[in-house]
Symmetry: C2
Subunit: 410 residues, 2 copies
């Protein structure tokens, strides 16, 4: 990451958040959907912002996703995002859809902005109805501010089984002006490629059209949010929304802008950082696992192999047990669906080579075990098929994952 920073003049902002870019406010309150924790949050742009979104590929699209799609379809602009936790409002039929529309209209009234400029997101238990009384009261309690505490309140309000809030921000210079992107996210279980139970919100003050923003987001998502997995389950609710309000004052960005690539990197680093924070906070996780696969025929092959390895329950439990069991890495790769020569695979746990061109290597189990006990574990796999490379992130599988999910509803 250091290298990328220098190359592109991208700078990470200390204590950065969705409020690091110009022209945004945020807040969160306890609406009463949960016992005591904040459970309703909002992000507000001073002006209608260009926007882009990606949604779950699960055939079940929860009501809030349908409402958000409707909002964006009208003018491709957003000014507010209203989010609740505790209840996903998914598989709730006609009544659930009406509730989501009502959540939108209440937000519209409370903040004096058009309904179609409001996006709605929900996360929590599937199959239960929203308590609309509480939602509406909560919306009226919201008091978004531009100060750091507004971002912190929002970040807290959107969490479910997450143990920490997720935030980041980066800045760069485009057309000589400072352009910033910030993000907040939640997601801990049901995390897998294609927008698992994950909500990601990115704000930027970049000046960019919605169409260009959508193309940037789709590309970046495939390399970041879609490359994390906690448990292989994808959810009905998840989405990533980006708002770009143009307050930075750069010339309108699109693919022909000479500094387009800089913006892509800004969005990518912001998204990657959020994705990694989600993976690290996977339910019950004690470790972030990063798998890099290189030497594949294509980048897509490498991404697929990396995702399969990092998603393997056996790899995940081996890392939890700090066991350098590379056989599980190779078994996962062998079923990933990509084509490669099984006689030429090299695997490293951190710096330690454990399989060299498909021949077992004698290595210090102690060194590997010590390495696998670290907070962040990197597994590198090298093939000899081509120049394709890709990365995926996940976490270990622990007793606490079972505990959390054996009793999530109660």
């Amino acid at each position: 990451m250091e290298i990328i920073k220098e190359k592109s003049e991208l700078k990470k902002i200390i204590n950065g958040s969705i409020l690091s870019p110009l022209g945004y406010k945020a807040g969160g309150v306890h609406a009463g959907l949960r016992y005591t924790k904040k459970d309703l949050g909002i992000i507000l742009s001073e002006v209608p912002a260009s926007c882009a979104a990606v949604y779950t590929k699960n055939i079940f699209n929860a009501a809030p996703l349908q409402v958000t799609k409707n909002s964006i379809s009208i003018e491709k602009k957003l000014q507010a995002i209203i989010v609740n936790s505790a209840c996903a409002n998914a598989c709730t039929g006609k009544r659930g859809l009406e509730d989501a529309y009502e959540m939108r209209s209440s937000t519209s009234k409370a903040f004096g902005i058009s309904e179609h400029l409001v996006a709605v997101a929900s996360t929590g238990v599937i199959g239960e109805f929203l308590d609309m009384q509480k939602i509406k009261q909560g919306i009226n309690l919201l008091n978004p501010v531009a100060e750091t505490c507004g971002a912190a309140d929002f970040e807290t309000a959107i969490l479910t089984t997450d143990t920490v809030t997720k935030n980041t921000a980066y800045s760069t210079y485009i057309d000589g002006v400072k352009v910033t992107a910030g993000g907040a996210a939640k997601g801990s279980g049901m995390i897998h490629p294609n927008m698992a139970t994950m909500l990601g919100f990115v704000t930027t003050d970049a000046n960019i059209s919605s169409d260009a923003l959508q193309s940037a987001l789709s590309m970046v998502t495939n390399q970041t949010f879609n490359q994390i997995t906690v448990d292989g389950d994808t959810s009905t609710n998840d989405m990533v929304i980006v708002m770009a309000n143009g307050q930075a004052g750069n010339k309108v960005l699109d693919e022909n802008h000479p500094e387009w690539q800089k913006f892509i990197e800004l969005l990518k680093l912001t998204s990657e950082e959020l994705a990694k924070q989600i993976a690290r906070d996977g339910e019950g996780a004690t470790r972030l696992i990063e798998v890099n696969v290189s030497g594949c025929r294509t980048n897509e092959d490498a991404q697929m192999a990396a995702k399969t390895i990092v998603g393997s329950n056996l790899v995940k439990t081996a890392v939890f047990g700090a066991d350098g069991n590379w056989g599980r890495v190779i078994a996962a790769m062998g079923r990933s669906g990509i084509t490669f020569n099984p006689e030429d695979v090299t695997i490293c746990f951190g710096e330690t080579v454990v399989l060299n061109h498909s021949e077992p290597v004698s290595f210090s189990e102690e060194t590997v075990t010590d390495y696998l006990k670290k907070d962040s574990v990197v597994i590198n796999v090298l093939l000899e098929e081509g120049k394709g490379a890709g990365t995926a992130w996940g976490c270990d599988l622990t007793y606490d994952y079972v505990k959390i999910n054996g009793s999530y509803r109660s």
Copy 2:
């Protein structure tokens, strides 16, 4: 199963095993690959038998699979299957392949049968070499017998983290003579469609050509062994082998035989029973989960949906926690890749309808929780797309799964 039995005159044999069909012997010994447990077993047919096999689809094929494929390719006959546990002899390069061939030749010598009539199978840790000294001594210790204890010794010798032996046998009448099929299997972790770390051995005294047997096995495997999952990981070693030695004396079976379907059912019931025993004994499992999906466009769709649901970590932990969280069932189905109308899905836990045509139903949580605490749990899903139906089997995900796999090698 009761219905099928009556319809087809299939009969389950009490205490049935691989020795229930005529003309087989079996045995198992402690060769010293493990501390005290038996770790080397053999099945022997009195005469060279027709055979069929299916192998892992993992791109890594362990050495014993390559040797078995070689044996079968020569004459499409087998007379012996030699199996060791503790070491998978996978990813062991040239030396591993030589070892597997030596295991075959030692068996050939010890029992006076041609090398190409011997199949070799291994299961255990990947990436370690076989101790050939112990393997060869063990082969000479083997003393296969036709009595029940021979089957029991074999069944024990092939286990790894399994907690129980797996066996079954069924019989029927074809051409007026009694035809029997029996089976043994192992498999507890790395269990997923396409021959996970699973070994299945079926003996039958049916008179059938190897080609017809192969076509029967391939068909049956897709509905049985390939429809179980423990942890989504497929292995490098797994295979199912059937030997048919013709001792029953029926007319040669093939697709044109008027009682062909009876033989298919015999093979299917035997395979299904072994597959379910494997799923029930999944690492750390406390419950067998059966998922039936019907009303799909095709049987393949139904099988795929059933397999996705039963393989979902969140469904598995919900069953472990006896939590009637149908949202996880629907989320898994929604990502299964099949096409269906999400507005018309009905889900039942046992007899209790929890989702009716995609509308949540008020149900007794207590009834469902009590049901989910049973040894065997059935989840039924009904769509309205067509007549396709399919079943898959798995188990719950528990603390013990994490425990076993966080420390398997040590």
